[in-house]
Symmetry: C2
Amino acid sequence: MNAPTSAQQFIPAVAARPVPPAMIEALRALLGERCSTAQAVRDQHGRDESAYTHVPAPQAVAFAHSTEEVAQVLKLANAHEVPVIPFGVGSSLEGHLLAVQGGISLDVSRMNRVLSVNAEDLTVTVQPGVTRKQLNEEIKSTGLFFPIDPGADASLGGMCATRASGTNAVRYGTMRENVLALELVTASGDVVRTGTRAKKSAAGYDLTRLMVGSEGTLGVITEITLKLYPLPEAVSAAVCFFPSIEAAVKTTIQIIQMGIPIARVELLDGRTVGMVNAHSKLSLREEPMLLMEFHGSPAGVREQAEAVQAIAQDEGGQAFEWATTPEERTRLWTARHNAYFAGIQSRPGCRSISTDTCVPISRLADCLLESVAEADASGLTYFLVGHVGDGNFHFGYLIDPDSAEERALAERLNSALVSRALAMGGTCTGEHGIGLHKMDFLLSETGAGAVDLMRAIKRALDPKNILNPGKIFSL
Amino acid sequence: MNAPTSAQQFIPAVAARPVPPAMIEALRALLGERCSTAQAVRDQHGRDESAYTHVPAPQAVAFAHSTEEVAQVLKLANAHEVPVIPFGVGSSLEGHLLAVQGGISLDVSRMNRVLSVNAEDLTVTVQPGVTRKQLNEEIKSTGLFFPIDPGADASLGGMCATRASGTNAVRYGTMRENVLALELVTASGDVVRTGTRAKKSAAGYDLTRLMVGSEGTLGVITEITLKLYPLPEAVSAAVCFFPSIEAAVKTTIQIIQMGIPIARVELLDGRTVGMVNAHSKLSLREEPMLLMEFHGSPAGVREQAEAVQAIAQDEGGQAFEWATTPEERTRLWTARHNAYFAGIQSRPGCRSISTDTCVPISRLADCLLESVAEADASGLTYFLVGHVGDGNFHFGYLIDPDSAEERALAERLNSALVSRALAMGGTCTGEHGIGLHKMDFLLSETGAGAVDLMRAIKRALDPKNILNPGKIFSL
């Protein structure tokens, strides 16, 4: 089988913009050893967790230690018209980090200090390279936590850039709801602050929300002020197995429609449970499974759990297992946390093409079941997990990356799923972002008029198109 | 005493842009009688609830019945370079509706249909002229409600435009968190949709959030999709009186820091309670008062109420009065709902200059107490109410609108309060917006860099500066 062409991988064919030697020299003068042109470093910064192979690497990698250095790098890049791709930990899934127009990778992972914890205000300010696990580790003595958990131990800068969410979003919201303020560096190298530590504000355009989800195309995030939450007095987790995906989804829909403030409700299908059993040497029932978590006062948690159990049992849910201690909960959640790697390892050498549709909750069963039937009929191997409380789920189509046929089949399934979700009032991406991979889907979803507004904003804030060019939309 | 000059009222001196007769003729051809140049209609559309007097009226008022008509009006305005000021019910507080550069008022209050209720998804789509009370009346059979309550029975389009919030925001968030999708008409008359009915999305720039709070300067909102919530199974309201404002605020701070999901927590100072007693013939204790509301299951509400009562009693709170039936709750809330009018009526002929600072919760006591001391020392009459759970409060300085001295004194107090709030990490406006009145404060709050980004966005989306020009920032 031939290696896939760029077209088959949906990498737009745009000429790389050269990085002039003077730019590299200036970066070396600014950063010394922290400007690298070593092939291994460049390669590591030119890929992500997407299924793209044969990816274009940046021509240099700049490791910034401070906002001032980020500003200097951007001033140089602006003067030389060199693309800059901000880099955190490289866990994005949609080709965000690929140097499709050449340029440099600006690695902010070493800007990883928690700058200030305001426990009494339930806020924290961090640098963009702080990861979500690091943050929760550093603040654990405060009795507070940051709930957003996209699975990967992503950098908070990256989570801002892609408007990430994950398992706790059904209760606590996404990055959209949890970023209070930002410091960012503009394309011209100016340092700008958006927002304050006040919980709400009506002060001018919501630049904070504009930057959250802009995927590095409008500015480089250098500081983030986040909301924190009191650790719940009581936490209870449960697993439950269902006779069908439909029964599990119907249970979820009722939980949401009744307004039960569930903290997490995650679906795995039976096949994915099987992959997890093989990967983690577990012996879970290989049936559709809901993993749930309840946060609140002891009485509140009990009340939520009882209500949910009654709904689930009406839908045929059984084999409930409950966990209240942290250790027991961790064991229950193993299945969910390992699902991605269990899926990847179930087919040696494969890559996963992830779907990310999110639909209004009433359409979740239809959208999911039609898509499962279609995927089953295709014969392609996949895993299936879902943040079903939000109407968001992911197929991971497990393809041989060297098989153009499998790649095309996965993309056809993905495309059909997106069309289905859009027709139901949903979105092509709940949390992974557009990147390279969903640019056509964005246009279908929002229409040319909205994309034109995005383009106009991009041109206004980045007239030389140096900030992660070629992502979200073509210019 | 002389009538105040424009400068004393902070109305920027910008020449009105003429509305050519051809524009009026074209509007008449399009709208017939629904294009009015009657002085009374123009005057009514050129003012709001702010303290501005001698305000500039628009040269005509266009009453639109459909998105298509809004689009046609904007195409005409764009061709003729005529300012367009969208108008809902006229309840804004910061001069948003004043025709400072001339032009026309585009009244969308007759676009007041609830277009679709998706009860099973907890969403509703409305036209911009629907008011919040109308919406709740029309959906009451669904068992759902829309919680955002800014006091006035504002239009939902206006509430979007100013990023409104109010008494329930402490639990349910503001318009920022509760608008899922919009239809809007751009400056060039194109109809654009942003967002979907999915609960979350990472699909490109967050145009929805950019439009929410843009005060009519980036587009005219013609459809809004909102989140709804299940009516709580149980609701309980309480009033409680405190020996000092400090004690009431300290109670509030502890409620928030403990993560108690209180639905409303509102402060009135003793003087304001006195105004309400006079206005509504009540006999409440004229002491600092908290009004609270709890939503949840019966057990959950009881648990919240007990926790709050214990905190309040530790701070000297007493004379608790509880209400659970709708009628009793309405009676308790009368004091809060009438506070604005009670304040205004306490001084015949006065106007209120409202402050709107919002600070991180830990600084609320300091910010409020220093500002009360300063206001008391000034001798100016005021009322004081606060959405204290969010760190947001309003002084209403009651001025003689013809007294330049009183106006200047109120503005000095306002300015000092804003400086104090900004130094504490807060914002000049929690929910009223910038309008005309807080343009200098926005610059102080966010810095020139952020305002320059806003200007760049404005120029990109409205190159002829026809959409509510002269508001938020100067161009």
